[in-house]
């Protein structure tokens, strides 16, 4: 039986997922085809609407999956999957919640199976540069700001921030805002924000955005000045760390970013990361922001269910763990399988988290989370007033309600 899988992974990630799928193909005897696309989100909508969807789709955003489920394009996962996730995933219930959407009939069901997690609360830096300048890795948000000020004082630029991403320009800013949200507000507020129980214009949200603005809008703090933030491609942005002399000393980005580092740079040696520190005050603990891809069945077939079942095996996780850039909440995997010591360090951050929250923009409706929130952040960085920006975002949210 042929089973088709569509996902957003291309390039190196595509090879990794192919490796996983080929094992499944071998075990099950199915002919498994994976196609990755940069414009996966648009492609899957078109295909689903037209009725030519693949069997399984890998959604980078729960928000889109929710919409698809509501329109009836997704098939609920087999009974028992929910229990399995609860049992075998760390913080199982939260993963179940993230994968549960209202179907066309309004009844919620588990549609998405999470596999592969990204860690977002990371700051990348070059240890030797820190060494040269005598800087220490900061432990609190306050330290981080002090360090930034110190760097400026030394006549250098602390941060490289780039929001450019073609059609998705602006999304890196949302990660910043979300991390700031977790560092300035209680997790519950975060959840209210995600569900729009508090509007975007709420002072809490505004505060988080402004906290991001403290970094991004500060000409002295970002390489190229605030004007460069929005135009710099997020893939190009970290290169400032590596130039000689360095254009910046720190870069906040998720766990996947090493793919875009200059060729030959070794994480852990040439470049390293630290946890984007939480505020030392306020007792918000050690919040961690993450994201993950969820697999859903877009075209029902027994083989598709088989694939989901396969993903529940530790093996399916270990194959990718042995490669690169893969984190998992699966409790049953052999952690020795990590091919890369830095991944372990990330897992530690994940495990030491007092709060884990899923990327908010990915949970918001597409029009907001992959639309007005992005563009709003670009506008904000471009100099628009925060009130106007949040007002516009809220308005777009109201429109899709």
């Amino acid at each position: 039986e042929q089973i088709t899988v569509a996902g957003p992974w291309i390039g190196a990630d595509e090879e990794h997922v192919q490796a996983v799928l080929s094992v499944f193909a071998e075990q099950s005897g199915h002919d498994v085809r994976y196609t990755g696309s940069d414009s996966f989100e648009q492609q899957i909508v078109i295909d689903a609407e037209a009725g030519s969807a693949p069997n399984v789709a890998v959604f980078p955003q729960p928000g889109l999956a929710a919409v698809m489920a509501q329109r009836g394009f997704l098939t609920p996962l087999a009974d028992g999957t929910e229990d399995w996730v609860k049992e075998n995933y760390a913080a199982g219930q939260s993963w179940v919640d993230l994968g549960t959407y209202a179907g066309p009939d309004g009844n919620p069901a588990l549609y998405g199976f999470f596999y592969k997690v990204d860690l977002k609360s990371l700051v990348w830096y070059i240890p030797e540069n820190f060494e040269d300048a005598g800087y220490e890795v900061p432990e609190t948000l306050e330290d981080l700001k002090a360090l930034s000020a110190q760097i400026v004082e030394d006549g250098e630029t602390p941060w490289c921030i780039g929001l450019g991403s073609g059609g998705a320009t602006g999304w890196p800013a949302t990660d910043w805002v979300e991390d700031m949200m977790l560092r300035t507000q209680a997790p519950e507020v975060y959840d209210q924000w995600v569900s729009n129980e508090i509007p975007f214009t709420d002072p809490a949200v505004v505060g988080a955005i402004e906290a991001f603005g403290e970094f991004a809008l500060n000409d002295d703090w970002v390489a190229g000045g605030a004007g460069a933030v929005a135009t710099t491609d997020f893939r190009e942005s970290p290169k400032g760390l590596f130039s000689a002399p360095p254009q910046c000393y720190m870069h906040k980005q998720a766990s996947f970013i090493p793919s875009f580092f200059p060729e030959g740079s070794v994480v852990g040696e040439d470049v390293d990361f630290f946890y984007f520190p939480a505020s030392g005050e306020g007792g918000l603990g050690q919040p961690v922001l993450g994201a993950g891809t969820l697999w859903a069945i877009t075209n029902d077939s027994p083989a598709a269910h088989e694939l989901i079942t396969f993903l529940q095996s530790p093996e399916a996780h270990e194959i990718w763990m042995a490669r690169k850039g893969f984190l998992t909440p699966h409790k049953g995997v052999n952690l020795d399988a990590f091919g890369d010591p830095t991944l372990r360090k990330m897992n530690d951050i994940l495990l030491s988290a007092t709060t884990f929250r899923f990327d908010a923009s990915d949970l918001m409706p597409g029009a907001v989370g992959a639309g007005s929130f992005w563009t709003g952040m670009v506008d904000y960085v471009g100099g628009k007033d925060v009130g106007t920006v949040t007002g516009e975002i809220q308005q777009s949210w109201d429109a899709v309600k």
């Binding site: 989100e41 648009q42 909508v45 078109i46 889109l64 919409v67 509501q70 329109r71 009836g72 209202a102 179907g103 066309p104 009939d105 309004g106 073609g166 059609g167 998705a168 320009t169 602006g170 390489a223 190229g224 000045g225 004007g227 460069a228 929005a230 135009t231 254009q247 409706p365 597409g366 029009a367 992959a370 639309g371 007005s372 563009t375 670009v378 506008d379 471009g382 516009e392 308005q395 777009s396 429109a399 899709v400």
Partner: protein, 334 residues
């Protein structure tokens, strides 16, 4: 099978099917249905000739109806409905339009589109006219024309990459790799992230389309200029006109008709413009245009109602040109 072989086979089947249709349907008409033989030969030929136009037209009419007319109707319908969760549609009246109208991004797109509509056709035509006039007068004009015409062959996405390189921005003090900033810096100015400067960035995007369309305008206008009777120009020379007077008072008025045609053709392109904005700014920094807004709504926000409504706005904006085109086509048939 080797992909080349497979491709070849597919091509043969596709093209062959098409050729076959025309060939055999005509054979059928002439040989079987109304054979041009026997006592009724004359009448049969006449009858066959009544049917034949439709035989020739059938595939085209079918394709046009299905691939262009039907989607327009479908879009109109979508713009007046809302999806209900779980599939199906409900009548929404003007709701989508109202919602769109209240969206500041829409207004921005509409205003920007207006700006595009004024600037791009005007400048493309003006540059094209200038290029046509100048290149017609020099020995290596054909070469110059080829070069100016070349961007026509480049896809919008390719053009976007090319121009991104031109507009590239590096922080002050760094070596600029974008030509524009390099020039600005060498003249003592400050580098600018051109694409993020609201309002003016529209013009930097338009430059790309102008760059592409000028060649088109030039070719057409150059032919028109060459179509001007040489004698009228000579008469003007004898009358004492200088080259500028000849150009503006004699030549340009005579090719006004062609200028209008070129202008409207480019206007249509402008209304459909999508790729350049999509690839260069994706509508950010206040560069949104309607086609990109529509794409955004359709495929990113999944809001088909508003997406279709904005598509209808594009259609609406095209309508005057459409009417004018149809009017001209009909006049020409007389």
């Amino acid at each position: 099978m080797h992909p080349a072989l497979q491709g070849l086979l597919t091509i043969v089947i596709g093209v062959g099917g098409c050729v076959g249709y025309f060939y055999f349907s005509n054979i059928f008409l002439d040989k079987v249905l109304y054979p041009a033989r026997g006592p009724n030969a004359g009448r049969n030929i006449n009858r066959a000739n009544l049917i034949r136009p439709w035989l020739f037209l059938a595939p085209a009419v079918l394709a046009l109806g299905l691939y262009l007319a039907y989607p327009v109707v479908e879009t109109l319908r979508l713009s007046l409905t809302n999806r209900v969760p779980g599939g199906g549609y409900e009548w929404a009246g003007a709701e989508n339009y109202v919602q769109m109208w209240n969206d500041p991004k829409f207004m921005e797109a509409l205003l920007n589109n207006m700006l595009w509509l004024f600037v791009v056709p005007a400048l493309s035509t003006a540059f094209g006219l200038l290029a046509a006039q100048l290149t017609d007068r020099i020995k290596w004009g054909a070469l110059a024309k080829s070069i100016i015409f070349m961007p026509m062959a480049i896809s919008f996405v390719g053009a976007a990459v090319i121009w991104k390189l031109v507009y590239d921005y590096r922080a002050e003090g760094q070596e600029q790799i974008g030509v524009l900033n390099a020039i600005v810096v060498s003249l003592g100015g400050e580098p600018t992230a051109w694409l993020t400067v609201p309002f003016w960035n529209n013009f930097f995007l338009m430059a790309v389309l102008i760059w592409i369309q000028t060649g088109f305008a030039m070719v057409i206008l150059s032919a028109a200029l060459r179509g001007i009777p040489e004698e009228t120009v000579e008469a003007a020379i004898v009358d004492g006109a200088n080259p500028f007077q000849i150009f503006f008072k004699i030549k340009v008025p005579q090719i006004m008709g062609t200028i209008v045609v070129v202008w409207t053709t480019i206007t249509i392109v402008v209304l459909k413009i999508f790729d350049i904005v999509f690839a260069m700014t994706n509508g950010q920094w206040e560069t949104q245009v309607l086609a990109n807004y529509m794409y955004d709504k359709l495929f990113r926000a999944n809001d088909w109602g508003v997406g279709s409504a904005s598509a209808m706005v594009i259609m609406l904006l095209v309508t005057p040109i459409l009417v004018w085109n149809v009017y001209n086509a009909r006049k020409e048939m007389r």
